[in-house]
Amino acid sequence: MPAIDIQNLVKTFGRTQALNGLDLSVEIGEVHGFLGPNGAGKSTTIRVLLGLLRADSGEVRLLGGDPWRDIATLHRRLAYVPGDVTLWPNLSGGEVIDLLGRLRGGMDERRRAELLERFELDPTKKGRAYSKGNRQKVALVAALASDVELLILDEPTSGLDPLMEEVFRECIADERARGRTVLLSSHILSEVEALCERVSIIRDGRTVESGSLSELRHLTRTSITAELDTAPDGLARHPGVHDLNVDGTTVRLEVDPPQLGDVLGELTKLGVRSLASRPPTLEELFLRHYATDASRERSTPEAS
């Protein structure tokens, strides 16, 4: 049984369709990256999972229960860090951490102290005095110190400095080692690449890619740079070759995975002096979806 299983989730606000048949599956014990451009529906999905929003249609299972009906039992087992943390101006950070921990059903005092030290957070400051990054640390410490099975993190590092981001990565690695499940919505691709076994990419309220990072890479072109003996001819007509760039005897190109062998054969025939190939980074994967988004908008400017 997966920790999170969403199928064909639809949620509309008035006339705007926020989620439009979204699928998401998170296995128990994995760190799952949840990616998508701004406004794609990441936070809406998370809020449906927390039972704050009611799904219009679709199947949503969270830790084997229904997030709308079984709130009391499910919320004992998860901790949540919102993307935009607002604290009560008059409560100190330490008070907020303790309050949230108690309302969740208990926290590990030793771990609380350890996390405060690792994140270098002063718990005596009042809520209004914290910067954005420090507010986020308060929510992170409260969530990570709780004894729960599932962590739902909505862009948890958007206000942290690089040092603190490193601390966050270590903490999530620890969580993974302890066997906790993490749903990590993020914009920071290197973070997702470092932490997540599997990712889901959503756009316009729909899942467009989902799978392990290596699976996703198979779906995407490999870029090749080669120096040849003779200038190439006819490569552009070869199926599967994209973005061909010829500069004398140096070629740069991208190739679809099924044609990789054929294209390499063609290059070998021309005499290869040097060859570099690179699998696509997550960033390229992600940017491809952004780009299609943008170019599609450009091609149909008056569509709406």
Partner: protein
């Protein structure tokens, strides 16, 4: 002058932000002045009526402390000045403090000033902007008050002194707020400190007017009265306002030089590193968030009760010569005994005040929701209903506490003055507590709006405003009974004095419970956020 660079642009921006708030304040204050002058003209239209009224004021310690002396008993202007020059000066000062802090410390706290400070703006420009906007609003107020007084037929010189009395208080408290905005790191504290100074000034004036008169001279609010509008104006008093404002203002500008942007001179106190063991439920959190509000209301209603209780026994003498005032009081109080009618009216006002508090307390739920502070709570084991009930509990229990305190202080003061504590205290306390079911109905309506139509939740204030208008104006314009019946407060027995019946109280309580339950049921089903 480079220190003031950019002030012009900032003032224009500020005026735009305040284009609703300032006119509303001006309108409210001017309406009070015009209607007071007009109604005194009609109620005390004979010399005997005015003199009788003034002699009753002079012998009643409570009225002296609350309003001050009548310096010219034989003119409508003198009575208007007695009633409004001190209170109006205090309200002007409060309005000024809010404006100055809003444009200085509040902007700084929100980080907006940092954005502006990075532009071409002199060091003194932000503070000057706040002061200029506040004094501009005060000047407009003074001008309009002058016109309103002359329009109802009062003498020009007196009207000028009256208006300048208010402006002078505004001037001094603009300077006070300019200082507190430098001292405190948050706008709450800056406002609080300035209001503390204002409260002290009002208290000194009250002590001076009820006792040794030199004490009044320690207070800028006292100066507004010592200008003696309509009673042989003493123009030199204006010099006191200017001198004091100049000294305090210089301190404020000196402090600007000495501090960093964003910082205050009073450090914010750190909080505890860990929560108290009791902070472990939504109710404990709601109490923590709301206790300050309740404390403020409790002090206000204690004072109001004491003043009303202190006046009640002398009410016969105060309104002896004015049939009009008698009629208004007995109409609103619903009984022929003037003292009882007066106390019943006061109890009704206590009930409305408690309703204002309770609506404020319940609508905190909506603020918590829109500021996204509800979300992390609701992601824990806490369910929506338990979360909502935590704030509802504070609102309901708070309304009981407030009415009990107001009723106790009014009953005790009235009992002491009439030498009959044993009889009067329970009567007045009971009259105040009898308001509770009506208070709860209004609270429940606000809760129902929050559950059913969260965006329309502020309409809870509209419901309360309608009740207040019906209560205030209904009897005097002889409104049809069915229209009066819309307000739950109409159905509360007019205590003390009228017959007591539990039926309407039980019915109102039942309605409140049903409406609240409907709101909670809707909250269960809707989206949060």
């Amino acid at each position: 002058m480079t220190q003031l660079l950019g002030t012009n642009a900032l003032v224009q921006l500020g005026m735009r932000r305040d284009r609703i708030m300032i006119p509303v304040w001006l309108y409210a204050l001017i309406a009070v002045v015009a209607s007071t002058g007009y109604s005194y003209g009609r109620l005390y239209d004979t010399r005997a009526a005015r003199l009788g009224f003034a002699s009753a004021v002079a012998t009643n310690g409570s009225t002296l402390a609350f309003y001050g002396h009548v310096y010219n008993a034989d003119s409508i202007g003198g009575l208007t000045a007695w009633r409004l020059s001190g209170i109006g000066a205090a309200l002007t000062a409060a309005f000024t403090v809010l404006l100055v802090v809003r444009h200085t410390r509040a902007d700084e706290e929100a980080g907006r000033l940092e954005l502006i400070g990075a532009g071409v703006v002199g060091r003194y420009a932000p503070l000057t902007t706040g002061v200029v906007i506040a004094l501009g609003a005060d000047a407009a107020l003074a001008g309009l008050v002058l016109i309103a007084q002359v329009a109802v037929g009062l003498p020009f010189a007196g009207a000028v002194a009256f208006a300048l009395g208010w402006f002078g208080a505004g001037l001094v408290f603009a300077a006070v707020a300019a200082v507190t905005a430098q001292i405190a790191e948050t706008s709450r504290v800056a406002n609080g400190l300035a209001f503390g100074v204002l409260g002290l000034a009002y208290l000194l004036r009250a002590v001076g007017d009820a006792g040794p008169s030199w004490v009044s001279w320690l207070s800028p609010i006292g100066w507004s009265q010592q200008l003696r509008p309509y009673a042989g104006e003493r123009w030199w008093v204006l010099g006191l306002f200017v001198a004091l404002a100049a000294v305090i203002g210089a301190v404020a500008y000196g402090l600007v030089e000495r501090r960093d942007i964003g910082a205050g001179l009073l450090p914010t106190r750190p909080g505890p590193a860990a929560a108290a063991p009791t902070l472990r439920s939504p109710l404990a959190l709601a109490w923590r968030l709301q206790r300050g509000l309740l404390a403020g209301w409790a002090v206000a209603l204690l004072i109001y009760g004491a003043v009303i209780g202190g006046i009640a026994d002398g009410i016969d003498a105060l309104v002896q010569e004015s049939k009009g005032t008698r009629d208004i009081i007995t109409d609103m109080g619903g009984t022929k005994s003037l003292i009882d009618a007066f106390l019943a009216t006061a109890a009704g006002l206590l009930g409305l005040a408690a309703a204002v508090y309770a609506v404020q307390a319940v609508l905190r739920l909506r603020t918590e929701e829109t500021e996204q502070r509800a979300e992390p709570l609701l992601a824990t084991r806490v369910g929506r209903i338990r979360w909502a009930l935590s704030h509802v509990t504070i609102a309901v229990a708070g309304s009981v506490v407030l009415l009990a305190l107001g009723g106790l202080s009014a009953g005790l003061a009235h009992g002491l003055r009439s030498h009959d504590v044993g009889h009067q205290l329970p009567r007045v306390l009971g009259a105040a507590l009898a308001q509770l079911p009506a208070t709860w109905v209004v609270t429940a309506v606000a809760l129902a709006l929050f559950g059913l139509r969260p965006r329309a939740a502020p309409a809870g204030w509209g419901v309360l405003g309608a009740c207040l208008l019906l209560w205030l104006l209904g009897p005097s314009v002889h409104l049809a009974q069915w229209a009066m019946d819309i307000s739950p407060f109409t159905h509360i027995p007019k205590l003390p004095g009228s017959a007591f019946s539990t039926t309407p109280l039980a019915l109102l309580t039942a309605i409140a419970v049903l409406v609240a339950a409907a709101g909670l049921a809707a909250l269960r089903r809707r989206d949060i956020g």
